[in-house]
């Protein structure tokens, strides 16, 4: 399961998206993502998705703060955010959540059965390809190489 940020609401989602990118540079993407949802996202209490809140979360995760600040304010994460947005939009993504299952698009929060059907089909396709000599480590790369580049 791979996560790409697709910022739909820039006013609220940009800073936390940059924060998870900066945390990823220290291999703490999922920890930061969970902390933002648990402590930053407004739920039953007022949320705080500010830049300062991201620093507080980074400290809690014991990240290297100098590097975190350089990454969250730097160009690399901004560029990654823009590239992911452009890529996913080009492939038909219009909102979140959106999913690509071995490259096959499933948009929105769908019932689990919709995923199961596609995943079962893809497992069978992969098994057939492996039986025909494909290598598992190259399998997804072949999907990327042969897949459609835009809608």
């Amino acid at each position: 399961m791979v996560v790409k940020q697709f910022v739909v609401h820039p006013d609220t989602a940009t800073i936390p998206a940059l924060a998870v990118c900066a945390a990823q540079q220290q291999h703490k993407f999922h920890e930061m993502e969970k902390m933002i949802w648990d402590k930053g996202w407004p739920g039953e209490r007022p949320g705080n998705l500010s830049r300062e809140a991201m620093d507080t979360f980074a400290k809690e995760l014991k990240l290297n703060m100098a590097k975190f600040k350089a990454d969250i304010d730097g160009e690399h994460c901004k560029q990654q955010l823009a590239e992911n947005k452009a890529l996913l939009a080009r492939l038909g993504t219009r909102g979140t959540p959106g999913f690509f299952i071995n490259g096959r698009f499933l948009g929105g929060a769908m019932p689990i059965d919709r995923f199961k059907v596609l995943i079962d089909e893809e497992i069978k396709k992969a098994d057939d390809a492996l039986k025909s000599g494909a290598k598992l480590q190259d399998y997804y790369a072949s999907i990327v190489a042969n897949g459609k580049k835009s809608i």
Binding site: K4, F105, N146, G147
Partner: protein
């Protein structure tokens, strides 16, 4: 609906007629006007009406057959580095 309208019309006309007897023939024209207008209202009520809004067409079936090229180099992931099925999620904090 029609029966109720007929009854309402009957009582209205009857009431107006009684009133008319009391007031004399000068009001006959007013009574005719009222009945004419009532007929017009009834015709409007009985006329077929267009639906308030056109029916919404069903959404098109999502295309889940097309395979798109979704590179994942350097993106964060959960699970093994190589797998038979790779799911890419487009996510945001919203």
């Amino acid at each position: 609906m029609l029966a109720v309208q007929e009854k309402a019309k009957y009582w209205l006309v009857a009431g107006l007629a009684l009133g008319g007897l009391a007031c004399g023939k000068a009001d006959d024209k007013k009574l005719d006007d009222i009945v004419t207008r009532l007929d017009r209202i009834e015709k409007k009520l009985d006329a077929p009406r267009p639906p308030l809004r056109p029916p919404t067409p069903p959404p098109p079936e999502a295309d889940t057959k097309t395979v798109y090229s979704v590179p994942i180099d350097g993106d964060p992931f959960i699970g093994p580095a190589v797998a038979k099925v790779t799911v890419v999620e487009a996510s945001d904090f919203a």
